[in-house]
């Protein structure tokens, strides 16, 4: 398996504070690599170093064999980047934004025009190609920003919070496109706050906290690793008394989730019997009942609390 990104001992200080602290990881060709972490954990700083936007303080980054510090232009030529805090040029049309990107990557004119047309069709924006970006909705702008990152047909695509703040349909479209790009052989480096998104898309995730890597593994492996935290989610037709439920000895913790109660336990089977007894005794009717294994969010919370 070929490593397309190799990070060794990467470190960065900002104003005397260590933002990224001697991190190491590899990204294999063709995988979707999730990069997760709480705000201020060092995610964006790491991505900026990987994409050559800022220089590493210490350590090495290799992008398909090119050292980003020594050969930034060659390394950048292989990437497409969607930075978190980024915008297309709002005074330019969608078409001109795409062609501008192609020019910066040295894409021949004819190829650039063909790619721009194909991408505008893929993102369902061809009819708006001559409209200025300032007239676009947030979802449309994000689609154009991603299309701009694809104009050079990159080997590796860096996506920093690509679905942040988007409506459900736009976010789903972008996730579908990420899947399609990955199926076509592109390596995706995805940073996201949405655990479900990472769980759905990533072959492997790294969790960073306080500038250090807390864990790197496949999502399911991470869930097994933290263990113990199974839960039963139940909703009743009327509000239930949480204190009465807390008296059930097998329940370790209770969290209210909207109209549902999440009961954390090691023994979901016996909890179900107790819930049936409880609902009969209190004249309640169970509307929904689910048993759930730990989610990636549980893994994230556990690991970021451990290191923190």
């Amino acid at each position: 398996m070929q490593n397309v990104i190799t990070v060794k001992d990467l470190t960065k200080n900002y104003n005397g504070l260590r933002a990224v602290d001697h991190i190491n990881f590899n990204v294999i060709k063709g995988e979707v690599f999730g990069f997760l972490g709480p705000n201020g954990a060092g995610k964006t700083t790491t991505i900026r170093m990987l994409t050559g936007i800022i220089k590493p303080g210490f350590g090495q980054i290799s992008i398909m064999g090119f050292n980003i510090a020594r050969d930034p232009i060659k390394a950048k030529q292989l990437m497409g980047v969607v930075p978190e805090m980024s915008n297309a040029y709002v005074e330019l049309s969608a078409w001109n934004n795409l062609i501008f990107m192609a020019d910066l990557y040295g894409v021949p004119k004819k190829t650039a025009r063909q790619r721009a047309e194909a991408l505008l069709n893929l993102f369902d924006l061809y009819d708006r190609k001559d409209h200025k970006i300032k007239t676009f909705s947030k979802g449309m702008k994000q689609k154009i920003i991603i299309a701009m990152a694809l104009m050079n047909e990159p080997e590796i695509l860096f996506l920093d919070e690509p679905t942040s703040g988007l409506d459900v349909q736009s976010a789903r479209l972008i996730r579908d496109i990420i899947r399609k790009l990955n199926k076509d052989g592109k390596t995706i480096f995805l940073s996201t706050h949405y655990m479900e998104e990472a769980n759905e898309l990533c072959n492997k995730v790294a969790i960073i906290n306080h500038g250090k890597i807390a864990a790197i593994d496949a999502p399911e492996q991470l869930k097994i690793r933290i263990g113990g935290l199974q839960r039963v989610e139940v909703s009743f037709n009327k509000p239930a008394d949480i204190s009465a439920l807390s008296a059930i000895p097998e329940i370790i913790n209770i969290r209210k989730k909207g109209d549902k109660l999440a009961l954390y336990t090691n023994e979901p089977g016996s909890i179900i019997y107790k819930l049936v007894d409880y609902s009969r005794a209190n004249n309640l009717k169970m509307v929904t009942l689910h048993t759930l294994t730990p989610s990636l969010e549980d893994v994230f919370i556990t690991l970021t609390q451990e290191v923190g």
Partner: protein, 243 residues
């Protein structure tokens, strides 16, 4: 160079081809010029040479200082920094756009002068001078924009604080040879002095320039190199602070 040209094209579309920018580029030096010239009995070729020098100066330094802060604010800079272009290429692109604009606008005072009977005695020297000066002043504008801020007003204030005093020490309103010794020494530190001197030579003739032509051209080249190197170094330092 193709990538720098792409950046220049983008700058032209976004920042330069706007009515207010073009009008400001012409009106600003014209009003300043009229304020000092009205009521004084001066030759038309002297006036046009001064106006031309000032127009080249104001137009070439009008937009280049605000590109970086504007793109910081509009969140375009990070996108650009992730592309396979060096800071030098980005700055050369910004300079090229500014040069195209400066050269194009300089035709206005030239045509005005021709309409008023001024003859261009040394057209090649004039063209060379204008092109060199627009490069030089555009690079100077990039030094102002290296301040790591997203506030264009901060950069404009800094730029105005430096640009306006230069206009008064560069032999535009008073010929250099009429200045006191300290004034002449001060004038020699301003790049605007040399393009004004070249304009006088080109429009008024061999006896009206203060410095030999080779000194004027050499000084503009030296200023261009200094401004360019300084702009690259300063922008390399300020880019991470902008993100």
């Amino acid at each position: 160079m193709k990538r720098a040209y792409a950046i220049a094209k983008k700058d032209m579309r976004i920042y330069y081809l706007k009515g207010p920018v073009v009008i400001f580029g012409v009106l600003s030096p014209t009003f300043l010029f009229l304020a000092f010239m009205v009521g004084r009995d001066l030759q038309i070729d002297f006036l046009i040479a001064g106006l031309l020098g000032m127009t080249v100066f104001f137009t070439s330094t009008s937009v280049s200082p605000v590109v970086a802060p504007t793109e910081t604010q509009s969140k375009n800079l990070e996108r650009l920094a992730a592309c396979p272009v060096s800071i030098t290429t980005i700055l050369i692109g910004d300079i090229l756009a500014s040069v195209f604009f400066g050269v194009a606008i300089s035709f206005i005072p030239i045509l005005l002068g021709i309409a008023m009977g001024v003859t261009i005695i040394h057209p090649l020297i004039l063209i060379l001078g204008i092109v060199l000066a627009t490069f030089c002043f555009s690079a100077m504008g990039l030094i102002f924009s290296s301040t790591p801020t997203s506030m264009t007003s901060t950069v404009m204030m800094l730029s105005t604080m430096i640009k306006f005093p230069l206009v008064f020490i560069s032999g535009i309103f008073i010929p250099i040879r009429e200045l006191p010794l300290w004034g002449q020494a001060l004038a020699s530190l301003s790049p605007l002095t040399y393009i004004t001197d070249l304009c006088r030579y080109s429009l008024q003739g061999n006896t009206y320039n203060y410095y030999p032509i080779i000194v004027d051209i050499g000084a503009l080249v030296v200023f261009l190199v200094i401004f360019m190197v300084a702009a690259i170094k300063l922008h390399e330092k300020s880019l991470p602070k902008r993100l």
